[in-house]
Symmetry: C2
Subunit: 322 residues, 2 copies
């Protein structure tokens, strides 16, 4: 088959011949029609992922055909029995196993789900990893209630936009942050009540005055800005952290945490029950994922460059001729 292959950490991605997948017991082979990028894929191309080996086909998000039916793939493999945390065998589709940026993939049958009828292949491919991460963070972890006020940091990223759409569909009031005025404006066009540019001095105080504090904050940055987010929480507020792109949190105030009964909740990915619930939620609310752009697989490197530069608003999709 043809696949988007990373031959080494230095080489650009290119479409090459790659061995066809051989399904193991319980697995099926899906003909892929589209994939989508995650930061995880960019890190893989930098050779930074633990356990990486070359050549490798990246890609955790995929949609395609199985027995003539349109399907999308749950990238969570071997979560285990405990809904509260993944077990030791847990891994994500795309590494160490062969990923979705290829014509075909072998995957456990239980990871294959029907695509909601209102979605195109490209939209469906945009969902899996980001939608699952957002769903668990917002519902299983933050336990969002209708009417609550939610702040989403770094709007424009794939997960952040799913959180945004899910929170709006669940009846929350949603605010956003970004370093880009344009991305904030786009979020407001999509129904955000307001937003703040976290590069501007005093942004958190102004946002607090405007919005009055938040029940729920969903963040993937951590880093030195985290205490600003904490200060925006209402008493008993929940902040869910699903990433750490800006590094360690350098100074956490315990008084604020205990006196205001705050909750800092780590979250990553999700289990198969959450994946099924997420797809049903998207179906019920007729949510169309925010697709930033669509590239042909042969131009995969350009898609990766766009993501590495942080230019996207929504998911970057790869079209796979099949």
């Amino acid at each position: 088959m043809r696949a988007l292959v990373l031959s080494s950490a230095e080489a650009p991605l290119s479409v090459q011949e790659f061995p066809d997948p051989v399904p193991r017991e319980g697995e099926v082979v899906v003909d892929l029609a589209a994939g989508a990028l995650n930061y995880r894929d960019v890190w893989i191309t930098k050779g930074k992922y633990p356990g990486i080996h070359f050549p490798v086909v990246p890609g955790s998000d995929g949609a395609g055909w199985l027995n003539g039916k349109p399907v999308l793939l749950n990238p969570s493999l071997q979560w285990g029995d405990n809904p509260a945390a993944q077990g030791k065998s847990y891994h994500i589709l795309g590494l160490p196993t062969t990923g979705t940026f290829a014509e075909r993939i072998a995957i456990p049958a239980e990871n294959v789900f029907d695509i909601p009828a209102h979605l195109t292949m490209e939209q469906a491919a945009a969902i899996p990893l980001g939608g699952l991460t957002a769903y668990r963070a917002l519902f299983s972890r933050a336990n969002l209630q209708p009417g609550e006020r939610v702040l989403i940091s770094g709007i424009g990223g794939g997960v952040a936009l799913f959180v945004f759409q899910f929170a709006r569909a669940a009846g929350a009031e949603v605010y956003v942050t970004s370093s880009s005025a344009e991305k904030i404006a786009r979020a407001v066009d999509m129904g955000a009540k307001g937003g703040a540019n976290y590069r501007e001095e005093g942004w958190s105080g102004r946002l607090k005055a405007e919005a009055g504090g938040f029940d729920v904050i969903i963040d993937s940055a951590a880093g030195p800005g985290f205490p600003d987010l904490m200060s925006l929480l209402l008493p008993a507020g929940r902040i869910v952290l699903y990433g750490g792109t800006r590094g360690p949190i350098p100074n956490l105030n315990p008084q604020q945490l205990f006196w205001r009964q705050l909750n800092i909740l780590g979250s990553t990915m999700g289990h198969s029950g959450e994946f099924a619930d997420m797809i049903a939620f998207i179906d019920r609310h007729r949510i169309e994922p925010a697709v930033d752009s669509v590239f042909p697989l042969t131009n995969g490197q350009a898609a990766f460059d766009r993501m590495a530069n942080g230019l996207q608003f929504g998911k970057i999709v790869l079209q796979i001729d099949n």
Copy 2:
């Protein structure tokens, strides 16, 4: 009436005449027989509490008599309607209002509870603030389940010892930390499965090897040692913070937090439903609070000195001749 009075931040505490309490609507006057110290009282004597005025009678913990019945007092005043967090009117008995280290106190009738039959006045007086804080932290916040493994830092403190006794009564396996080998040994005598001295290099690795990690950690130190505690949590583990005696947390690792689905939960005091449940739990399990020592009210300064020096194992009680 006679009361233990702090005339200024510099003066030692002394028993003096103080105006008799005048009950407002909904309040009753309780004849106090015993009080108990909390760190809060020590901070008050340092003049460091916001809103302090002199002269002041400290004391949040008290037990005594109302209409011939032995009673103890819930020190949580005006929590509000939200069980998840106290409202803006919330305050703790003892400041700004007159505290329990006196012959009499005026308090809302709803804050007066019957003393379980197996307890002395001195034991009952040891319960309120510490028992309430421990109960909320361990059950409402950490949601402790039977058979779980619990680590309690700083054993010897009043709250820590209530957490210890409650966790054991609820069927947990309990480990402790302290900077004192003697306090660890006492906890093991009381049923702790093990303990570690957090002043010793490499303590957390050894404790992890011994115990295998913890479902729940209850801490009031925060500070530079917090990441060591985090590393001892099992996946999906909960760490409840109810104080910050060692200051800000300088370096929190977001990867550890999200990948391991961890929970950092702030907790302080508790509402009246939790107080009632806590007293019922103590009654049901025939728990006798750990009383470190009993001082007469006239020797109150010595009791405060003992607490300020961190020598105690359990609650320091004041006996009030009445």
